[in-house]
């Protein structure tokens, strides 16, 4: 039985974000494969509990040790927090994992890797975003535009970062810690290339594509019944009304659509349902509705309600789970030419919408979708979490073998 300690800033029961979905689902898939025990370490922020106290919980067979952090933490503590490192070192000591699988370490800090190294436990670091090369995590500048550096040179970050020298210290610290992981995985070739070109963990990286949760048996039936009840095309958008997620482009595009026989579901991904509060759509054609955040368990129910998914990111994303989840269910995807999110290879390059404020290309595809109604689009063959876990097992075996022989 191999014991994996998965470290991610969020983990069930408090889940948030795509990387957390991957961390949780892969952990569960590993357990289902057999021969694995997974324990998680994550963070929480509670006023009623002592700072840096640890709380143990368990969801779906995975114990999660949540370290309670104070609300106020310094810039430096966001990437290297000695108090958290001490707790993690204790956990590694008592749990004796065979391997540490580090996912999103923002707020947890790089002590996850150094604590494991100090106790001779190998680390697989899975990069999900650009936190390791950008203090703003997504390479989105303060004015909500994409940074565009390729490769990232820290001296070019002057004027964007809070404090250049602090950012430089952070950048160099993370570069040195990256080299202490036995293996670094990226969800896409795009992410790997950009990080490695930027000097992060060169020569240690592999592409480890994310899986998604595939549709359950009843999905197609639910989709068919919905379409029988209401034949209108339904568009879906998962995200908030931000420029970086492409909302202004979507709004401008719909404003120029001449037909109104369609519906749009806007999924509020926030924890508290606040993203779309105060927004109205009365000046737009069609029927608009804000849909609450869905969990992995509710995914089929949501996708059964839509025919077309918008993914209009105005920056280069590392992956794009929602795109693959949609494609696996026969949902048409209209997306921008957004970094690693296009590497599924199922949308022709000339159909990818260029990043930028021009709504015309999107409006054209919206009109085409309303006209053609993509009801007959077949589900695409997309990797699931089980196959992602199988690949992780292979990578883990490789790392453990290297560990034994050195």
């Amino acid at each position: 039985m191999r014991h994996v300690l998965a470290a991610n800033v969020f983990f069930a029961p408090h889940s948030y974000g795509g990387a957390t979905v991957v961390a949780e689902q892969v952990a569960r898939a590993l357990i289902r494969r057999g021969g694995f025990r997974v324990t998680a370490v994550s963070l929480c922020c509670r006023a009623g509990i002592a700072d840096y106290a640890v709380l143990k919980s368990e969801t779906e067979g995975i114990a999660n040790y949540q370290i309670n952090v104070p609300a106020w933490r310094s810039y430096g503590e966001a990437y290297d927090n000695p108090a958290i490192t001490a707790r993690i070192a204790e956990l590694i000591h008592s749990l004796s994992p065979d391997v540490v699988h580090a996912h999103c370490l923002q707020d947890l800090g790089t002590g996850v890797i150094t604590a494991a190294r100090d106790q001779n436990v190998p680390v697989i670091l899975s990069v999900h975003d650009f936190w390791w090369i950008c203090e703003r995590q997504f390479m989105i500048q303060m004015d909500q535009t994409y940074c565009g550096q390729d490769p990232v040179r820290i001296k070019e970050c002057k004027g964007c970062v809070q404090n250049f020298w602090a950012a430089k210290t952070r950048f160099e610290h993370l570069q040195s810690i990256g080299n202490q992981a036995q293996l670094v995985t990226y969800p896409s070739q795009f992410a790997k290339n950009l990080c490695e070109k930027s000097g992060f963990a060169s020569g240690r990286g592999v592409v480890w594509e994310n899986g998604v949760r595939l549709p359950e048996k009843g999905f197609l039936k639910a989709q068919r019944e919905r379409r029988e009840q209401d034949p209108r095309v339904v568009f879906g958008f998962v995200g908030g009304p931000s420029q970086i997620k492409g909302w202004p482009v979507i709004r401008a595009a719909f404003a120029g659509v001449s037909r109104a026989d369609f519906r749009v579901l806007l999924v509020d991904g926030s924890v508290d349902g606040s993203w779309w509060q105060g927004h109205d759509f009365f000046d737009l054609p069609g029927e608009w509705e804000v849909h609450s955040r869905y969990s992995q368990d509710d995914m089929d129910a949501f996708f059964a309600k839509i025919d077309v998914l918008f993914f209009m990111s105005q920056w280069k994303e590392t992956f794009g789970l929602v795109i693959r989840a949609a494609l696996a269910r026969g949902i048409q995807v209209i997306q921008t030419d957004s970094g690693g999110s296009t590497e599924h290879g199922l949308i022709a390059q000339d159909q990818l919408i260029p990043i930028g404020p021009d709504p015309a290309p999107l409006r054209h595809q919206i009109s085409q979708a309303i006209e053609a109604h993509p009801a007959q689009q077949a589900p695409q063959k997309i990797a699931d979490f089980a196959s992602q876990a199988a690949e992780l097992e292979r990578l883990m075996s490789q790392v453990l073998l290297e560990q034994e022989t050195t």
Partner: protein, 437 residues
Amino acid sequence: MGPRSWQMLMRRFARTARQDGLANALGKAGRYLARRMRGQGSSALARAPEGPPNTEAHYLSSVWQDLAQHNAFHIHAAPATLQRRRQIALIGDLNLPQCRKYRVEQLAHFWQGRGAEFTYAHYEDIPRATSILQQATHLFEYRLKCTDVTQMLRYEARRLRLPILYDLDDPLFSVSAYGTYGNMNAVDPALKSHFVNEAPKYLDMMNGADALSVSTPGMIVHAALYSPRPVYLRRNFADSQTLDQGAKAMNAEQIEDGRFRVAFASGSQGHEADLEEIIKELSTFVLADPKRRLMVMGHFDPKALPGELNGQIERYKFSDYGQYLATLAQADCTVMPLGEDAFNGCKSAVRVLDAAAVGVPSVVGTVGDLAAVVRHGQTGLIAQKPSDWGGALEVLANDPSQTRQMGLAARKDVETRWSGHAEPHIIAPELIRWVEG
């Protein structure tokens, strides 16, 4: 912040004002600037919407509710079944230094010596007590009574599926022991009532545990009158502190004035009743020779001593452990009488161990566990009945060389037989299996 930063911020402010309204944009800008001025880092974590707990006993209430609502409350596998490494969390009443030494710190050293992790917390240090439970495989509770706080801590331990051992070295749970305890006659009757009234709270705590450990065979018998839980023996022993400080005291310069000193040490109130058991024999012995002295150490009411002894009594105030041993080392022997009652029947031999650690032989009676540590005639003397005490003291006084040899033999015994090895007379094998099995 450079001009490029300001430009980007202004662009963002303008866009936010345009899309979400000026008030919203001003609010966001204010929060951003405040965070920058405080040097606060950005974070993905949102603070849970909860305030501090109303009382200490509610420390975990909001956590429990949250975990329950997220279907994450229960831990399905006991940690001890998942990991070989043992991690013992002890939560106890650590206020009494002697209790802390013998029942907490000794235990820590014992289990650490066997490769287990051992951490402890005072039960009123709730953050620490709660925290050490989270990674534990076993919970030991020491000297706790049932309160809202201890019940909360135990509830958390049960949530975490920790087996619970309750440890005690005095029959605090026993109304019948307190009701007949001779030493209680020397204290305020209200205090005695208090102990009697508290007893059910200790018993409740004991019976909520999975197993009990106690310090003497007499205590095992007495606990079995009250609790159906399995009771294991874990005697107090001479730890490295006792042995090291004892050796230091032995090696210090001794008084060479030709006097023969008999020590009586009292670590708490009420021991006048114990000395009363032998005071007649003891007084006769001391007064028989002007070179004999009675050393009275620690808490003791001088009015309880016969006036005729005044010229031959040496008084020593209660002191720290090192000073206590240093003083004890000046004695030629010690006496440890105990009145015969249920409470004393549970008493351990820690004072015999202390005396032996400084190479001083003890004269003990048959009450409690003291005689178990004494090899009669070799490391000390056992008085079978009250009238034996005077004769025993005469034996020791009449042959100082033999008495010193007895003391050295007693010292050797604590080093070899009573120094905390995992042997059945120190700790029940069942208790070791309970933790390690």
